[in-house]
């Protein structure tokens, strides 16, 4: 434990990133989980990864260094628009897009010569390599996105609960869905580099499942999902450091445990 504290300067930045990412993704994941769109976040992460691979490919092709983040954001935003437009039959779009993005990433990646490790880092995460600058970028994007989501939560929730009444009131369910998916895309685009797609998936689904099992008020569920995400992310990171385990998998396993406890608690008879 002493070693952990003495080496704090090495892990504090990735630690903060994992906590911020798990908490904010956990909060936004409540709506995707309620809508039974559990695979939307992982598909957005995968389409983002395709964007990164394309950025690396074009960089090699044109011999100029292109920043991967805008490419990741662009592809994820394209997927967001598709998901928002396809309210019904969304599961098919999620599956097809996930498979297409995965295949595209691997195929385009096979043409890369020098940067394959960077691509793998994006796909599987490399939380321990997060720099101070990346931490500030994640914080600078995730915190405003979380605040905006919290400000819009009631409208997004109403559109998700009953899109027909939302439309009858003169509002656009498509726009509400698009806002939700754009916020998710932005968050995923900046956090996948540290978390990887597996942990992005875990952080959007499992804290939400645990929180939904514990509460019957939307606001409380949101706060609890953020807390479960932060708690799972922080503790998982520390455990991975202490026991020399892969960070993403350790955090994901801990979040699975939280999700399972939540679902078991929900099945227990209430007094």
């Amino acid at each position: 434990m002493n070693e952990l504290f003495s080496s704090v300067r090495f892990w504090i930045d990735p630690f903060i990133v994992v906590i911020i990412a798990s908490a904010t993704l956990g909060m936004l994941g409540v709506l995707t989980t309620l809508r039974r769109s559990l695979f939307v976040p992982v598909t957005l992460a995968q389409t983002g990864a395709l964007g990164v691979t394309v950025a690396f490919f074009l960089s090699e092709l044109m011999a100029v260094e292109l920043p991967p983040f805008p490419f990741a954001l662009l592809t994820a935003l394209g997927a967001s628009a598709l998901f928002a437009a396809r309210r019904s039959g969304g599961a098919v779009a999620e599956a097809v897009l996930f498979i297409a993005a995965s295949a595209g990433t691997i195929l385009i990646g096979s043409f890369l010569r020098g940067d394959i490790h960077d691509v793998q880092g994006v796909l599987f995460g490399s939380a321990v390599l997060v720099s101070r600058g990346e931490m500030l970028t994640v914080a600078g994007v995730a915190l405003p996105a979380a605040i905006l989501f919290f400000a819009l939560r009631r409208s997004l929730f109403a559109a998700s609960f009953d899109p027909d009444s939302y439309a009858a009131a003169g509002r656009s369910p498509f726009l509400a869905d698009l806002i939700l998916y754009i916020l998710l895309s932005v968050l995923i685009a900046v956090t996948t580099r540290a978390l990887g797609t597996l942990l992005v998936f875990a952080a959007t689904a499992l804290p939400a499942l645990a929180a939904l099992a514990m509460g019957r008020s939307f606001d409380r569920v949101l706060v609890r999902a953020a807390l479960v995400g932060a708690c799972g992310g922080g503790n998982g990171f520390i455990m991975s450091w202490l026991f020399d385990l892969p960070t993403g998998a350790t955090v994901a396993a801990l979040l699975c445990l939280f999700g399972a406890v939540g679902m078991i608690a929900q099945k227990l008879p209430s007094r």
């Binding site: 309620l34 919290f150 400000a151 819009l152 009631r154 409208s155 929730f157 109403a158 609960f161 009953d162 027909d164 009444s165 939302y166 439309a167 009858a168 009131a169 003169g170 509002r171 939904l212 509460g215 019957r216 008020s217 939307f218 409380r220 569920v221």
Partner: protein
């Protein structure tokens, strides 16, 4: 119908349907304060008609006009159209009606809370306010969804098959409450149903859609009721 009633929606030779016309082009005016029954067989296009009226789907032809600007419409969907696993109490569900009024609602205002409490009281739901929406009976859920629409303080309340699977007493109670609220608030009430028996006593006018005979008719309740009795259908 009172000639002083203000027109909220005007349909002029409106073609309704998703890709092809369900019935001949529809001309219909809905005015503030009226109780309109929209009826026809299953699949006749009743829901499509109200969705076209509310601008939720485009008219295939003709024109939908809002003479005094788009009216604020509270919509109560068919039973089973809303999910039951969402974490909301009955009060939260009713407050959701206030969230339909604006994109950003960081906190509920006193006005929001008062409107929700009034809607809960109007439908005798105050005692159920803190119960989970998913745990309520079908009839109670339906009343909560009506209260949600009322919390918007709408100019037009549209209910899609509100009495389906409701026992006769509960159905009559709900329809009577709606009639009283319409008079008190001066809002238009549009009820879409294939089961006209419980509603017809309250309706000022009836719009009849008959897809098989390619017919759309709108008229005073007694007139259309006589036609239905003679035809023996709908």
């Amino acid at each position: 119908m009172n000639s002083e009633w203000r027109a909220l929606v005007e349909l002029r030779d409106c073609g309704i349907g998703w890709e092809r016309l369900l019935v001949p082009p529809v001309s219909l005016t809905v005015s503030a304060g009226e109780y309109l029954l929209i009826t026809g067989q299953n699949g006749a296009g009743k829901t499509t008609l109200v969705k076209t009226m509310l601008g939720m789907i485009p008219a295939l032809s003709g024109e939908v006009r809002y003479p005094a600007g788009r009216p604020l419409a509270g919509y109560v969907p068919q039973r089973g159209a809303v999910p039951e696993h969402y974490p909301v109490t009955a009060r939260d569900a009713v407050l959701m009606g206030r969230a339909l009024l604006r994109l950003m609602a960081l906190r509920w205002s006193d006005e929001d809370r008062a409107a929700a409490d009034r809607a809960l009281a109007d439908l005798d739901l105050a005692a159920l306010a803190e119960r989970s929406f998913g745990e309520l009976s079908g009839g109670q859920k339906q009343r909560v969804l009506v209260a949600r629409a009322l919390a918007m303080e709408p100019q037009m309340l549209v209910l899609d098959e509100p009495t389906v699977n409701m026992d006769a007493l509960s159905a009559r109670r709900l329809l009577h409450q709606l009639d009283e609220l319409r008079r008190a608030r001066g809002m238009a009430v549009l009820i879409v149903t294939h089961d006209i028996a419980p509603v017809i006593a309250y309706a000022d006018r009836v719009a009849l859609l008959d897809r098989d005979r390619g017919l759309f008719r709108v008229g005073q309740t007694a007139e259309i009721a006589a036609e239905l009795m003679a035809g023996g259908d709908a």
